[in-house]
Structure formats: structure tokens, C-alpha cells
Symmetry: C2
Subunit: 145 residues, 2 copies
Amino acid sequence: MLSKKCKYALKALEYIAKKGNEEPILIAEISEEQNIPKKFLEAILLELKKDGILQSRKGKYGGYSLRQSVNEINIGHIIRLIDGPIALIPCVSYKFYEPCIECEDESICGLRNVVQEVREATNRILSKVTLADMLKREQRLARKK
Amino acid sequence: MLSKKCKYALKALEYIAKKGNEEPILIAEISEEQNIPKKFLEAILLELKKDGILQSRKGKYGGYSLRQSVNEINIGHIIRLIDGPIALIPCVSYKFYEPCIECEDESICGLRNVVQEVREATNRILSKVTLADMLKREQRLARKK
DNA sequence: CATTAATCTACTAAATCGATAGACTAACAA
DNA sequence: TTGTTAGTCTATCGATTTAGTAGATTAATG
């Protein structure tokens, strides 16, 4: 399950993306509009900045804005950044690979074999979806109503 | 990520399945052979029993055995039983559905739309894989080596 | 230099995870 | 009918993670 932190991150990114890139947006504004605890949001935005997704300016007329384009920002990447591995077991994860302690020989592990398939399927989807896509989906869904 | 508990559950089931269904198997034996803390394993097997997957007998010649056939025991079901939802957000889960508090209208949520796709893909795989399949995969992988 | 707004450090409450201890109960056998 | 065996139930515990708060600090602007 995605953590609240991760959902907050995605909502904040959506909010910033929707407002366009003219001028920086205040943490306080995002916090109020999206109902995210301000102090918590600060930490989240900072993480996104450190990863190069956002940029910020201090002081008056300061705030946050996108550093990457909405087409570059990948949803799977955000999830991994905030929540860590998406894979169900670490021994099938590319980005967070770790051998299972309990497993003597992962090359013959049946569970690993199954979970690897799940991982591939998940990745096939997530690797393609960007922030721009998510916004498009939102518009499409709204039109359908 | 799957919890240790869940991996223990799957390993225990594999162990019981491999030994065949002649006579009940002791918690102590599974614990030693699979390196699972005994007391922890007790709780796990009990859960599997309460769900109807295992059966048990107390006292001498007692122990645990499969109640369902290896073809009936679905891996996704075990994961959901022990760890809860597999879906990345509760609002796309069939078994553990819950609306997102922060979301006003889930029918137009872009994230939900993406995660729903992931869920479908995951489910397509997991709904087909049984304990028997996992054992077969193991044998196939071992032969390939 | 005052104001504004992001950044940094530190802390806390609650929940979850992994595990353990010990009393209790059912099955069997002598 | 009593001792032994082995699963069941209740309770607790330490460590870690999650969600959130408080307050001091730093940088940009006017």
C-alpha cells in the first residue's frame, strides 16, 4: 500500500503541474488547497527537490515549481522515491535488490518466480505513466462523467 | 513488500505440501527445517487453519496437514489473508475496498486509474497461481540448472 | 534591515512487525 | 484415569515505521 506521504507527494505534484509553471507556489497554498499538513508537506517537497523533480526559491515571491517537465516525471519513480520498493520481495527488485536472508538459492525459488512475473507486469505499466499522463487520465475521466 | 510472516506462511505450506498428506506434521518440525521461530509459526498455522487451508490434530500423532488440495490453494489468497491488500491503494481493492479519505471523487482520480491497471495485471497473474503451480515452478527451475 | 518563505534539527504519539512466555485444552496410550 | 504430547489462547515486548509537530535557522527580496 502507498503511504499517505506518497499520496501527498503525488497530489502536490499534480497541484503544482496544474497551476502551470509561471511562478513558484507556496507550501502553505498547497497545504491548504490539498489538505496536507504543512510541516509534513515541507519534508516531502524537500525530498522531491533533492531528487531534482522540483526546484524552490526562498523569501518573498519564493515557493516551489517543477524542475522537470510533466512528461519526464514518472509516477513509478515518485512511488519508489517516497515509499521504496514496489516489488513484493526484495530479491526481484532492480532498484532495491537484496537477497532474501531465508532463501538459500533464489534461482530456484518458486515464490520469486511468481513475484517476478508480477513485477514485470507492474513495471510495464508504471514505467510508461508520467505526471502528464495522469493529468490526461483525470481529464478523460472527468469528460466521461 | 511481503512481511516475514507471509513468507513463513508460504514456506510452511510448501513444506507441508512437499511431504505429502499421509500424516500430520509437527509445528516443531516445520520450525526447525524451515528456520521459522516456533511460537511465531504457531500463530501463522492457526490463521491458515481458521481460514480452512490447513487442519490440525492435538496430542500424540497430532500436527498439521493440508485441508485443501494443492490445486485449490491460491498464492494470492494466502498473501491477502496474512498481509492484507495487495493493491497499492484501498480504493481499487475488491477484497479490502475502502474509499480514500483525501479523495473527493474517486471516479475521476488519475492515480486510481493507473493503480487500477496495475491491480488488474497483478491479479491476472496471482489469481491463476496455486501452491501446486509454485511447486512445479520450483521443479522446473531446479531441472534447468 | 525587516519581512517572507524555505530549510534544518529534533522530537513525539501511535501503529505495525517480529517474536516470546506461559497457561490451557484436546488427543492418545499405558 | 492419568501422564504425555502437541496444538490453542492470552498477553506482552522491543524495535521500527508512519504521520505529524515545534522551533530555530538561512536565504531572498524590497
